[in-house]
Assembly symmetry: C2
Homo-oligomer: 243 residues x 2
């Protein structure tokens, strides 16, 4: 068992990790990578994650549906925000979305030399785990965090993946052990554990509590968003993804 699984707890620490040749799972549970799973499951053709509002606006001008969130809220002048419920809309079928969020889209663009980049979420947890068990490459989970700080929800998700893969991968470092231990403490009731999380408080203040419950739902979808060479996330099933 030579392959490793490790966790980068914040994009601010990404320079400490090697992503080249690895499968990178980016986690922004509340809510960017969860929204991506929802959008693709509901028929969106593909999603381009972009780091800046300016870039997102340019793509809007080119005909993309433009989604932009900063500080937990939709940014004026854009078509969509960062609630999963925004993406359960039949009118988005076959559309292409450009998306920029406070943390997640930047994290997705921070691992350009990875072999494969996947947007992780609880919404397709088991399909992703099944896929990762079949691959042989090292895995790096990159938590999007909040403005550089680590957060509970992404760390818990990372811990859930580490636990699910610990018989298939060598745990690669202290951060992975921390996340695994955290998940063990929280897994009996993730929602209650997350009552203390900064982002839970932020979303409740913004009236978005139902987003929390939704983003913690396990296995609503069978396919996962994978970043392809065209710079867009596409919905892929296990057999399509194998590299």
């Amino acid at each position: 068992m030579n392959r490793k699984i490790d966790v980068c707890l914040s994009p601010g620490l990404i320079d400490c990790y090697e992503s080249m040749g690895k499968i990178v799972i980016v986690a922004d549970i509340f809510r960017a990578t969860s929204c991506m799973a929802v959008a693709l499951a509901h028929g969106v053709k593909k999603i381009k994650p972009v780091s800046s509002l300016v870039e997102c606006k340019q793509l809007q001008d080119e005909g993309y549906i433009a989604a932009a969130e900063r500080g937990g809220q939709k940014v004026d002048g854009f078509d969509l925000g960062n609630s999963p419920f925004h993406y359960m809309d039949e009118s988005l079928a076959d559309q292409t979305i450009a998306m920029t969020t406070t943390n997640g889209t930047m994290a997705l663009n921070s691992c350009k030399d990875a072999k494969q980049v996947i947007a992780g979420s609880f919404l397709n947890f088991s399909p992703l785990v099944n896929y990762l068990r079949k691959t042989k490459l090292d895995i790096l989970i990159v938590c999007a965090g909040w403005k550089g700080k680590v957060n509970l929800e992404d760390s818990l998700y990372a811990g859930a993946l580490v636990q699910a893969l610990q018989l298939h991968c060598q745990v690669g470092g202290d951060a992975a052990y921390m996340c695994s231990s955290l998940f063990a403490a929280a897994k009996a009731d993730l929602r209650s554990f997350l009552d203390r999380a900064d982002h839970t408080h932020r979303l409740i203040r913004l009236g978005q509590e139902e987003d929390i419950d939704f983003c913690l739902s396990i296995d609503k979808y069978t396919e996962v968003p994978v970043l392809r060479k065209d710079g867009h996330l596409h919905k892929m099933s296990l057999n399509d993804m194998l590299i």
Copy 2:
């Protein structure tokens, strides 16, 4: 209870935190901040933490006892390394030490605008907790980590402090909750929990396993190292420290 306690899990994330006006506890459990406690308890007059080997060498030329560690080992040409047992030497009494280590001394120098900077360790855990309970300022624990990555031992120490102060301070963020949860999982047997830590493996490889056990000893000393305006750490007791 308006005062807060928060944790910065790596010096690489320090820009996300405000240290101005706070009490900052720097933790490099294996082994820099533990060594500092040992040295001062054994009669060393004061310790200047410096970031670079060059600066440490210059101070050696000026008459300081020079301690330098990189990658877990003493650096050639310096007087001392980073084992706590190096500092239990009567010949060091009343001497002034310049110290540079892979992680800890840089962390100590990263919070220049804090109201007070303290080198934390398990070796004087209760005296420090008793002091912090008497103060009213916000507390930021800065974990030294390992070359930018987070590590288990410093995170556990941070969690121990958060737990000990949670009735006196508001827990300030997700990182502090993570550390507290981690400590709760580990506290029954810190040493066994740390068997999986990267730095435990590193120290065992280097033949320094007894350093691990020593650095996890609780309350060997009653005084704590505090960084004073002269840029040196001095041994201070609770009443001397109050600000």
